[in-house]
C-alpha cells in the first residue's frame, strides 16, 4: 500500500515537520481563541463554554411527517433543528404545480402556506429551539412564513435564533436551486440580511457556503476562495445600499464541508477564520471584532460516502465529524450511512446523532480550544491553504468579483474540472476508496437496515389541503397583500415587510414566487461543462 504524498487538494506533504517548517511570527497569525484574527476559534472557551449544536438536516413528506422526524431527533438529544425542503418549495412551486408532482416531499418537506409552517413546528417552541433553513431562491418567502408561524406561537422576533441559508450566489455554482437571474437574486438575499439586521438580533440571515461547490467537486482551496468571494459580493452589495459593514457583518455566518483528509480539513477551517478576519478588516474596515469573527456550520460530505459496503460510511462520517470539531465548528450535521441510496432511515439518522454525542462526550476532544494549535504540520498547512486561497480570491477579483466570475463560467469550470479529475483518480486507482477500488468484495449484498420509503400519496394530499386553505382565506385581503409585494419588488423597496403581510394573509409560496418571476424573469442556465 502506498500513501499519497499530497493532500486531497494537491499540496505536497513532507514525511516529517519540524519547527523550521512554520513561518516566523506564528503567535500573531494565531491570536487567542475568541480574539483576532480568530484562527483558533470564535470564542474564548470554545466547547467548554458551549458545545457545538447538533443539527441533523431533516425533512420529507408533509409538514406532519417532518414534524414527527424533528420530534424523533429532539427526543434523542438533538439540540436544534435543520429543515430540508422539497425541490418544489425550493424552486417556488406549490405542490399542485405540474412541474412539481414528481418531486413533492421527496428530498424535503413540502411547504405551500404559512399554515404548513405552523404545522411543521407544532409543539416545538420557536423561542427556545434554533432552526436552520436550507433555502435560497425562496428564502425571503420562507422567512416570512416562519416569522408569522412564530408570531402565532407568541414568540418574539428578538428571541428567534437560527440560520437561513440564503446564499443564492452559490446556487449558480452547485445544486442550482436558482429561479431568477443573478442580479435580482442577490438583491433578494440582501433584502433578507437588511431586514434581519434591524429585526432579528439572534438570527443569522445568511450562511455563506463553500459546502455545495465542494460537494460538486472543487477542492478545499477553491472551496475557501468561492465562499470568501461570495461573502465579499454580499458585503459589497450591502455597503452599496448604504449599510455600515459593522451593522450586518456580525450576523453573517458560513458553511463549509468537512471531508476525508482530516488535517487538510482542520487547516482549511482554521484558515477560513483568518481569511475572513483579514477581509473584514482590510477590505471593509471592520471596527468591531464580531464583524470579522467567522462562525460556521459544517456538513459532512455525502460525496465521500459509498454505495459499496455502506457500513464503512459510519467510519468515514466519524472522521469527518471529528475534523469539524477540531476545526472549531459551531454546529454540525453528520451524514447517514445509507445516503447513497435514500434519505436516511431512523436507524441511520440516530447513529449520525450518536456519532456526534460520542465525539462530544467520550473522546475528550471538546475539552480544550483548538487542540491542534502549534502543531508544526497543521500550522504549516493552515498557512499554505490561506496563501493558496488568497491567490484564487485574487483571480475572482480580477474577473470582476464572484458574480462576474459565475457569469463568465470561471467558477463552474473550476468545479467541473476538479470533479472530473477526482473521478478519474478513483477510476484508475490513484485515489483509494476502500470497498470501491481497493478491498472491494464483488457480489456481496450491501448490509443495510430498514430503508426509508417515500410516501407516493403526499403530493395529492398536500395539494388538496392547500386548495382548501386557499378557499378559506379572505381573497381580497390576500390579493392586496400580494400586490404590495409586487410593488415593492418593482420599486426596489425591501420585500420583507410586504412578504410578511402576504404570508399572514395566506398567500401561497407559488403565488409569491410568481410575483418575483413576473418582475425579475427566470434564469436559464447555459449548460456549461
Amino acid at each position: 500500500m502506498t500513501i499519497a504524498e499530497t493532500t486531497d487538494a494537491g499540496i505536497p506533504v513532507a514525511p516529517v515537520y519540524e519547527e523550521a517548517d512554520v513561518a516566523p511570527d506564528l503567535a500573531e497569525r494565531l491570536g487567542s481563541p475568541g480574539a483576532p484574527p480568530f484562527t483558533r476559534g470564535p470564542y474564548p472557551t470554545m466547547y467548554r463554554g458551549q458545545l457545538w449544536t447538533m443539527r441533523q438536516f431533516a425533512g420529507f413528506g408533509s409538514p406532519e411527517d417532518a414534524n414527527a422526524r424533528f420530534k424523533f431527533l429532539l427526543e434523542r438529544g438533538q439540540s436544534a433543528l435543520s429543515v430540508a425542503f422539497d425541490l418544489p418549495t425550493q424552486l417556488g412551486y406549490d405542490s399542485s404545480h405540474p412541474s412539481a408532482r414528481a418531486d413533492v416531499g421527496r428530498v424535503g418537506v413540502a411547504i405551500d402556506t404559512v399554515d404548513d409552517m405552523v404545522d411543521l413546528f407544532d409543539g416545538i417552541p420557536l423561542d427556545e429551539i434554533s432552526v436552520n433553513f436550507t433555502i435560497n431562491a425562496t428564502a425571503p418567502i420562507i422567512l416570512a412564513m416562519y416569522l408569522v408561524a412564530a408570531e402565532r406561537q407568541g414568540a418574539a422576533p428578538a428571541d428567534l435564533a437560527g440560520t437561513l441559508q440564503n446564499d443564492i450566489l452559490k446556487e449558480f455554482l452547485a445544486r442550482k436551486t436558482f429561479i431568477y437571474p443573478p442580479e435580482p437574486s442577490l438583491r433578494l438575499s440582501c433584502d433578507v440580511i437588511e431586514h434581519a439586521a434591524g429585526a432579528l438580533p439572534r438570527f443569522n440571515p445568511i450562511s455563506i457556503t463553500g459546502y455545495h461547490a465542494r460537494e460538486a467537486g472543487c477542492d478545499a482551496i477553491q472551496e475557501l476562495a468561492l465562499a470568501m468571494g461570495n461573502a465579499i459580493a454580499y458585503s459589497d452589495a450591502l455597503v452599496a445600499r448604504g449599510l455600515a459593514f459593522d451593522s450586518f457583518a456580525p450576523r453573517l455566518s458560513f458553511h463549509f464541508a468537512t471531508t476525508m483528509d482530516l488535517f487538510e480539513e482542520v487547516a482549511k477551517l482554521r484558515a477560513a477564520r483568518r481569511l475572513w478576519y483579514r477581509i473584514a478588516t482590510e477590505r471593509f474596515g471592520a471596527s468591531k471584532p464580531p464583524s470579522g469573527r467567522l462562525r460556521f456550520f459544517s456538513g459532512n460530505s455525502g460525496t465521500t460516502l459509498t454505495a459499496q459496503q455502506p457500513l464503512n460510511n459510519v467510519v468515514r462520517s466519524t472522521i469527518q465529524c471529528l475534523g469539524a470539531v477540531l476545526g472549531g465548528a459551531q454546529s454540525i450535521h453528520v451524514m447517514g450511512y445509507d445516503e447513497a441510496y435514500e434519505i436516511p432511515s431512523e436507524e441511520a439518522v440516530t447513529l449520525s446523532l450518536r456519532t456526534q454525542q460520542i465525539i462530544a462526550l467520550e473522546s475528550g476532544v471538546a475539552r480544550t480550544a483548538d487542540p491542534l494549535a502549534g502543531s508544526y504540520f497543521v500550522e504549516a498547512l493552515t498557512d499554505e491553504l490561506e496563501t493558496r486561497a488568497r491567490a484564487l480570491i485574487d483571480e475572482l477579483d480580477a474577473a470582476g468579483g464572484a458574480a462576474a466570475a459565475i457569469e463568465a463560467g470561471i467558477s463552474q469550470r473550476w468545479i467541473a474540472e476538479s470533479a472530473y479529475r477526482l473521478e478519474r483518480e478513483v477510476s484508475n486507482g490513484e485515489r483509494p476508496r476502500v470497498g470501491v477500488n481497493v478491498y472491494a468484495t464483488d457480489g456481496d449484498e450491501p448490509h443495510l437496515g430498514e430503508m426509508f420509503e417515500a410516501d407516493p400519496g403526499v403530493a395529492g394530499r398536500h395539494a388538496a389541503r392547500t386548495a382548501e386553505r386557499v378557499e378559506a382565506r379572505d381573497a381580497l385581503v390576500c390579493r392586496a397583500a400580494i400586490d404590495a409585494v409586487s410593488v415593492a419588488a418593482q420599486e426596489g423597496a425591501n420585500v420583507m415587510p410586504p412578504l410578511i403581510d402576504a404570508a399572514r394573509a395566506g398567500a401561497t409560496l407559488g403565488e409569491l414566487a410568481d410575483v418575483f418571476r413576473s418582475v425579475f424573469g427566470e434564469f436559464r442556465e447555459p449548460a456549461l461543462w
Partner: protein
C-alpha cells in the same frame, strides 16, 4: 464509423449536476459527441433534442429520488413522438427501482456506485448497437 452521438439532460427539478458533467466529459474523452442540455429539461425538450441531434443514446441523471416518476414521463413522451433512441438513467437508484426502471423500458440503469468506465462502456455499446441496427 462516425462517433456515437449522446444527448444528456437533467429532468425534473434536481440540480445536482456533478455526475452528469463528469459522464459528459468522460464520454467526450472516449470519442463520443455529447450534447448536454442542462437542468430542469422537460420530456418534450429532451426528445425534441434527441431527434434534432440524431442521438444514438439519451442519458438522464436524477438524484432526487424521483427517478421512477420521471422515467415514466420520459418513456411516455418517447412513445408519443415515435422515437426509439435508448434511454439510460443514472443517479441514486436503489436496486429494486433499477429493476423496475428496466422493466418499464429503460435500456440501462447506472445507480450510484457504478464506476465511470462502466458507464462509458455501457453508453458506447448501446450507441454502437443503435448504429448497426
Amino acid at each position: 464509423m462516425s462517433p456515437t452521438r449522446v444527448v444528456l439532460a437533467k429532468p425534473g427539478l434536481d440540480g445536482h449536476d456533478r455526475g452528469i458533467k463528469v459522464v459528459a466529459m468522460a464520454l467526450r474523452d472516449a470519442g463520443a459527441e455529447v450534447v448536454y442540455l442542462g437542468l430542469r429539461r422537460t420530456p418534450e425538450e429532451i426528445w425534441h433534442a434527441a431527434v434534432e441531434e440524431d442521438a444514438d443514446v439519451v442519458g438522464v441523471s436524477v438524484l432526487s429520488g424521483a427517478h421512477v416518476a420521471l422515467a415514466g414521463e420520459l418513456l411516455a413522451e418517447r412513445a408519443r413522438v415515435g422515437a426509439d433512441t435508448p434511454l439510460v438513467v443514472g443517479g441514486t437508484v436503489p436496486a429494486e427501482d433499477a429493476d423496475r426502471l428496466r422493466a418499464m423500458g429503460v435500456e440501462a440503469v447506472h445507480p450510484v456506485g457504478t464506476s465511470l468506465p462502466d458507464v462509458v462502456a455501457s453508453v458506447l455499446s448501446l450507441g454502437a448497437r443503435e448504429r448497426t441496427a
